[in-house]
């Protein structure tokens, strides 16, 4: 029976379908334009997707716990405008502001998780409701204004490079990804999140506090969303109510492409991150080869379908 432990070549290929797709895209774009495979552009791709990657970690945790959060984009928006307003208008010190962003988002996340439990409802529809609420709050805070002139030390997080080569935000991303990967993959609490998402009833009967685990997943995801809001606004050196909006879609897309199950209980972080960069490289490469906006949409859709095809080649029909 040990054979079951070893994977067949087919399964390995399916497992590696996303990296293969990534490499294929890199090769394709490198052939199409010599501007693609340059240190500068590769750094660009990294930097452009830092906040997406961090956000996708949040999306993944929530999805594994059996939920789905559509309000993440507006959580980011609320955090970004609030923090930038605090710093520029009220002169709040940077560390306090950072803390505020993270705490605020973790509260918003907890609110989502808590409401879903209280309302005994699907998280997707609950967060569709809270999304509208957060959207209103974000505009009420920002009054449709853009906040510029953020403190240097704040922008440092999003713009500076260590040794002049490695961007700080990329390092932050790597640290976060490693921590999240470790917690979800190796620790008991990570395992419980998978269990709560896989079969809540079984979890309950095994003595897990499923409700608590689910709410906690939202809380932790909120922390990541807060960090993501900081990274994004620090990179652009400004924030308005559109900051981060729609990012949950990119996150969900990356998660599902990488095989995170919509019904919960399944998902692997490294694949999610690879999927984020597949999408990122695609967007970057298409601009570099100067594809028009309209064909870009089509190309993106096709690539998504291709990737689904590769990932699911060996699986059973649903």
């Amino acid at each position: 029976m040990e054979k079951a432990n070893k994977k067949s070549i087919g399964e390995i290929l399916v497992d590696l379908s996303l990296p293969i797709l990534l490499v294929a895209l890199v090769i394709f774009f490198s052939i199409m334009t010599d501007k693609f495979f340059t240190p500068l552009n590769l750094t660009n791709i990294l930097v452009q997707n830092v906040h997406v990657a961090v956000c996708s970690c949040a999306v993944m945790i929530i999805m594994i716990s059996g939920g789905c959060d559509l309000s993440i984009g507006y959580q980011m928006s609320v955090a970004a405008v609030l923090v930038c307003k605090m710093m520029t208008v009220y002169g709040v010190p940077v560390p306090v502001a950072l803390l505020c962003a993270v705490v605020l988002c973790s509260l918003l996340g907890t609110f989502n998780g808590f409401m879903a439990q209280k309302l005994k409802s699907n998280t997707m529809i609950v967060t569709l409701g809270t999304m509208a609420i957060f959207q209103g709050i974000s505009y009420l805070i920002s009054e449709s204004k853009t906040y510029h002139n953020l403190p240097k030390s704040y922008m440092f997080l999003g713009q500076s490079k260590v040794f002049g080569v490695i961007p700080v935000n990329v390092i932050i991303m790597i640290v976060i990804v490693v921590i999240v990967g470790f917690v979800m993959g190796k620790t008991a609490i990570g395992r419980k999140v998978y269990a709560a998402g896989d079969n809540p009833e079984a979890g309950r009967l095994a003595g897990l506090n499923v409700a608590k685990i689910k709410v906690l997943s939202f809380t932790v995801a909120g922390v990541l969303v807060g960090i993501s809001a900081i990274l994004l606004s620090a990179r652009s050196g400004s924030a308005d109510s559109s900051t981060g909006v729609g990012i949950e879609f990119t996150g969900i897309t990356a998660c599902v492409l990488s095989g995170v199950a919509l019904k919960g209980g399944e998902g692997t972080l490294w694949k999610v991150i690879v999927a984020v960069f597949v999408l990122g490289i695609l967007a970057n490469g298409m601009q570099l080869i100067n594809l028009g906006t309209y064909p870009q949409y089509i190309a993106k859709g096709v690539i998504m379908l291709v990737s689904l095809y590769m990932t699911n080649k060996n699986s059973k029909a649903m």
Partner: protein, 505 residues
């Protein structure tokens, strides 16, 4: 109510658990009606009753899966109105549920150790140590499943064993098993008995629910009987025989367990030649009109796979299937139905029924096209059909619009059978047809099978219940690791012969 008797007998020194005056109401049903039973330390206490008698409800009350409407639970002297699952676990109560409630997408090891405190103390999960522990546990049942395998890749039998292992891991003081033998074969059953005896020797209380009355004599000390949600009696196993048990359960005596049947006709309705695919290879047999053909094999022998192949729900790689002399090419279950084959799947929850839909809905769905007037569902005809099967199969339910999920396990199985019968196929495949069905209803199903066969239908029956297989079949084909190990005719029937083929000797 005769709860005094319990207390007098068990209360002497070592009563560990007592349920007092438990009542559980569901909309339209009283699943438990003022039931009091007590359990002693180190005893194996069987709980029997017909399908829907309230056994599962009773043990779910103990494990905290549900809250009783009224009554109390006394554990080690303290009384509780209800328990939370976590609380029950902490008290040392471990449960093997009748329905397999498992983490489908997680590994065997994760399933076994989930929620076990000692395992989650450290920050990091020690995968290797876990796997070894899991292996050791599974070895008790002679099961060599790799602990890293995902649950959803296992057969029902193996999943059942995983549940047993899960109950063992916590070193519980009370182990409850709800029909643990329903889905496993003789050899695993033996292992299970040994495990139960070991538990008993260790002073663990075992609450054991089963419809296989014979096995109770082997392992149990006392038997409590429930009927229609009410407590009937508790007796020492020495003081009772099978007939009495049935009488307590059903309220009347049952005649011969395996009713006689007219022999099959000579006409061949199904011919399988050299069939391979879906994990089985080189299968050859003929099925005659009016015949009940049994299939035996150990867990994982590929019986279910073969049935799905014949039904068209899996792809054959080579070989020929002929229905009534004509070769058929089945590429879907739909084709199978069109060719006149019907399948009662072994896994009722995922394959058998629409659990969140009403009973009548389930029964009519496979024949829905014939229940219409110009495309519109004829609700009268539909209800009549459902009513007919409710009567015929004695489905115990207050009303046919009840959701199937609210039925007891055995009654759900009956709904699945009714669903397939409603489409009126000529060849019926019964995969573990009596899994979880009580002895009375089982008898009804046997009668039904005979009646179907005598009316000219032919039946392929897969069962892990050796006695049933020997009692019902006219011939038995034995599979071993996907191959046809042998064929046994009625005259040569014996348990030993089947087992020797099945284990590949």
């Amino acid at each position: 109510m005769n709860s005094n008797r319990n207390e007098r007998k068990g209360g002497v020194l070592t009563e560990v658990l007592a349920l007092k005056n438990i009542t559980k109401d569901y909309p339209g049903v009283k699943a438990l009606d003022d039931v009091s039973i007590s359990f002693e330390e180190g005893e194996v206490h069987a709980l029997i009753g017909e399908n829907g008698a309230g056994k599962s409800t009773f043990i779910k009350t103990i494990s905290g899966a549900i809250k009783p409407t009224s009554g109390t639970i006394a554990y080690e002297g303290k009384e509780y109105p209800y328990l939370e699952p976590k609380q029950a676990i902490d008290m040392g109560i471990a449960v093997v549920y009748q329905e397999l409630i498992q983490f489908e997408a997680m590994s065997v090891a994760d399933n076994i150790f989930m929620g076990v405190e000692s395992e989650s103390k450290g920050l990091v999960v020690n995968e290797k140590e876990r796997c070894e522990k899991a292996k050791a546990l599974l070895a008790k049942f002679d099961c060599d499943v790799n602990p890293a395998t995902l649950i959803r890749e296992l057969s029902i039998a193996n999943r059942q064993i995983i549940e047993l292992a899960k109950a063992m891991v916590r070193n519980a003081k009370i182990v409850i098993m709800d029909e643990p033998t329903a889905a496993i074969t003789v050899s695993e059953q033996e292992k299970l008995y040994q495990v139960v005896k070991q538990l008993k020797a260790d002073g663990v209380t075992v609450i054991y629910i089963s419809h296989r009355l014979e096995e109770l004599f082997e392992i149990c000390d006392r038997v409590s009987v429930l009927r229609d949600g009410q407590y009937v009696t508790t007796v020492n196993i020495e003081d009772i025989d099978k007939q009495d048990m049935i009488k307590y359960m059903v309220g009347r005596e049952l005649s011969n367990a395996y009713p006689p049947k007219e022999p099959a006709q000579s006409e061949v309705v199904l011919e399988v030649e050299n069939l391979s695919g879906n994990g089985v290879e080189g299968i050859n047999f003929q099925l005659h009109k009016g015949e009940i053909l049994g299939f035996a094999g150990l867990v994982g022998a590929g019986r279910t796979e073969l049935m799905h192949l014949i039904f068209g729900n899996a792809k054959k790689t080579s070989g020929i299937i002929k229905v009534k002399g004509k070769e058929v090419h089945l590429s879907s279950a739909n084709d199978g139905m069109k060719a006149g084959i019907g399948l009662i799947p072994e896994d009722r929850k995922f394959q058998g029924c629409f659990i969140d839909k009403p009973i009548f809905w389930n029964i009519s769905i496979s024949d829905i096209d014939h229940l219409t007037k110009g495309g519109v569902v004829d609700q009268k005809a539909e209800m009549k059909l459902a009513e007919d099967y409710k009567e015929r199969l004695k489905i115990k339910t207050p009303f046919l619009k009840q959701l199937t999920s609210g039925l007891s396990g055995g009654n759900q199985q009956k709904v699945v059978i009714a669903k397939v019968l409603a489409s009126n196929p000529d060849i019926l495949i019964f995969d573990e047809p009596t899994r979880g069905i009580d002895i009375g209803a089982r008898h009804e199903i046997y009668l039904l099978m005979n009646e179907l066969a005598e009316s000219g239908k032919s039946i392929l029956m897969v069962s892990s219940d050796m006695e049933e297989l020997l009692g019902m079949s006219e011939r038995i084909i034995v599979l071993h690791e996907g191959h046809q190990a042998g064929e046994i005719s009625k005259a040569e029937f014996s348990q030993e012969r089947v087992l020797s083929f099945a284990s590949g000797i």
